[in-house]
Subunit: 415 residues, 2 copies
């Protein structure tokens, strides 16, 4: 079974919006054994849309379309779908009732634009959307299934979750695709490739391998995309197990997981409370930790101390330390860890101080110099990072490396 | 001139990675008057790649390719490019010297994989990459320009910035595309469409309009994509000016900007220091504010108080307030604003407290109930948000709405 995604809207092409919808759809269908084979992003232009619809229809059995279902004049997906399927637009009472139910309690006026939004291709079935005015569409034609959804991410997600996935579950899909991913920290992709060569060297050639390096970790993925059997699945699982054995505590986790999620699980299981004291990361470490549902079970809080004054007042950093070693120093991050553990009554604290850039460097601490630390009031582990001149990347990298440092500290110092 | 992007790698299709590269490339080329017409995401599979390369070559004059230039066996872009252009791979000394220069000072061993990485299509020119081992490629063939870059975002950005953009600047590009965007807060896309209809109703039909709603704001974009003249540009500019007049202080800014950037500019111009006191947003407001270069000029710090204990200790919230009204209340966020202004010596503070979800709601405060506040020790503006059950969306929405509230507070209470 071949599956495509078409995202519609200039905003993606001109870079005004990052397309997160496709990734989300890819993730959401994977449990069904469905993988996306092809993705197009095109502008909301009639010719482009007709051309791409035709291409997708030829190459795919299931087609997901996002964007262009809204009430304004740039929303032309329904019109073009009607044209493509040689059908007409009809007024949908169901769609109108939906808009009324959303608007009347909030005293919002229904205008001509909303009437226009209720015109849907005659061959479409509507898909519920409790997050907005635009209902999704399901069109079945010549054995192919088209699902059109709004481009607003949480509206798309709602429709996928409540309508599309349950529908797809109802048909017999032969699982053709299987993949497992192992997340390994602190080594490069070439190091991993060399080290695991003896394990996977003689593998069945249907098992493909992919390395996905990112900040502080590499995701190694093994995939089978055709001729999937129980035997080959077991073989693949066995490699994942063996690689896991090789890397031990450097294994962050498996499949769709994240360092912040796995660290949270460890903290929770050990009954430890964590917090952060951040300068240049500006709350990003705290944000990562609290992005996980249930994080209040192990996260207490954070001091974001952009000024020296705050480092002294809230993290007990000594004036002498700042004077003698500066704010970007091992001594300062150690005191930040100890001070915040003390003030916030933490079992472990993370501290970060550095020059995120793009300006503000000195001869001793050029842009990208960032000290990170993790520990408690008695034992602190530190690391000096020498990163780039890119502020966004420096903030993200320092945050991830500091989570890794906390992970290592826990492995070494907590029972 | 037609321009395409091809992103290569299963990780994008299966949703393991969100493709931010395409957006970045789209943004980076726009000043040259270049817009992306088409984008494909495909897996690292020979047939798919050859098919898509052919499609892109037929439809485009410039083709950007990202992904698959690394040292591991899943990196096959160079091989397939050589096959597509019917040329052979040759060992590149320049590439090898580049790897040596990166590795020798850091004592990293050069392996066979790196030798393999130095094999490049004979018709390619190398593009410098100071962020990693994989150099970019430029292939000119039949008047078409192919630029292949690694998929790692900051490596791609380095090559675009230092090699591709300067190269493209050197050729005569007729600017065919022009667009302006205005960011308006606090109104819906239909409200805007109705209100501006009299302004843009009789516009030249080459000027297209697009509405891009996101959290708390709508970006309205006017675009000309063909037959661009100075006259039509002036007409477009005039509409943007008139719409700006209509919305006054509800205009966040223009083009590639953001609420956090524009708010920072206002704070700086007024010499005001800001800080945050956050519960359920967990540092995300602080992260948004500090993501802007130079934010230390107006950002002092934040207290991330996930526990009541921290709300009392660091934000002076009274125990009675928490007991009587709970942590998710107007009274609590008002005290958080006042307390943090006092403790951190701020001119304005933002406070957030709520139930981000997915669990933890009560009858009085169901999941998605979030109180936000902005102000100083004497005047505080508050708002109650009733959001969804989606944690990520709630955190982001509460953060953006709280920045809007701070914006409004400044418009109303600061001279």
């Amino acid at each position: 079974m071949k599956v495509s995604i078409i995202t519609i809207g200039d905003e993606i092409l001109i870079g005004q919006v990052i397309d997160s919808n496709s990734a989300k759809i890819g993730q959401m269908v994977q449990d069904l054994g469905i993988r996306i084979n092809h993705k197009w992003s095109i502008s909301d232009n009639r010719e482009e849309m007709l051309y791409t619809f035709d291409q997708a229809n030829q190459k795919s059995d299931i087609i997901f379309v996002t964007g262009g279902l809204g009430p304004t004049e740039d929303d032309i997906t329904k019109e073009i779908l009607a044209e493509f399927f040689q059908t007409k637009l009809v007024f949908s009472d169901q769609s109108f009732e939906h808009i009324k139910a959303l608007f009347l309690p909030r005293n919002i006026k229904i205008t001509d634009r909303h009437h226009r939004q209720c015109m849907i291709p005659e061959n479409a079935r509507l898909l519920d959307n409790q997050m907005g005015t635009a209902l999704g569409l399901h069109i079945e034609s010549d054995g192919k299934h088209w699902f059109a959804m709004p481009g607003v991410p949480y509206e798309m997600e709602y429709i996928m979750k409540h309508e599309v996935i349950p529908y797809l579950q109802s048909f017999e899909i032969t699982k053709e695709s299987y993949h497992r991913t192992i997340h390994i920290m602190g080594v490069s992709e070439t190091q991993i490739a060399d080290r695991i060569a003896p394990i996977i060297g003689k593998r069945n050639n249907l098992i493909q391998i992919a390395y996905l390096p990112s900040l502080g970790n590499v995701r190694l993925r093994l995939t089978v995309d055709e001729n999937l059997t129980e035997e080959i699945k077991r073989e693949l699982e066995d490699y994942i197990f063996q690689i896991g054995q090789v890397y031990g505590t450097a294994v962050i986790g498996y499949d769709y997981t994240s360092l912040e999620y796995e660290l949270g699980t460890i903290l929770k299981s050990k009954g430890m409370m964590i917090g952060t004291a951040e300068s240049c990361t500006g709350g990003y470490v705290s944000h990562l930790l609290t992005s996980i549902p249930g994080s209040s079970a192990y996260f207490k809080g954070a001091i974001i101390a952009y000024t020296n004054e705050m480092k002294m007042q809230f993290c007990n950093v000594a004036l002498e330390t700042l004077m003698k070693f500066t704010a970007v120093s091992e001594e300062t991050v150690i005191e930040m860890v100890k001070g915040s553990c003390d003030k916030l009554k933490l079992d472990i604290a993370i501290a970060v101080s550095g020059i995120a850039g793009p300006d503000g460097g000195t001869a001793e601490a050029p842009v990208g110099t960032i000290w990170i630390a993790a520990g408690n009031t008695s034992i602190v582990k530190t690391r000096k990072l020498q990163l780039s001149k890119d502020r966004k990347r420096n903030i993200e990298a320092a945050a991830y490396y500091s989570l890794i440092l906390a992970w290592e500290w826990i492995s070494e110092h907590s029972s």
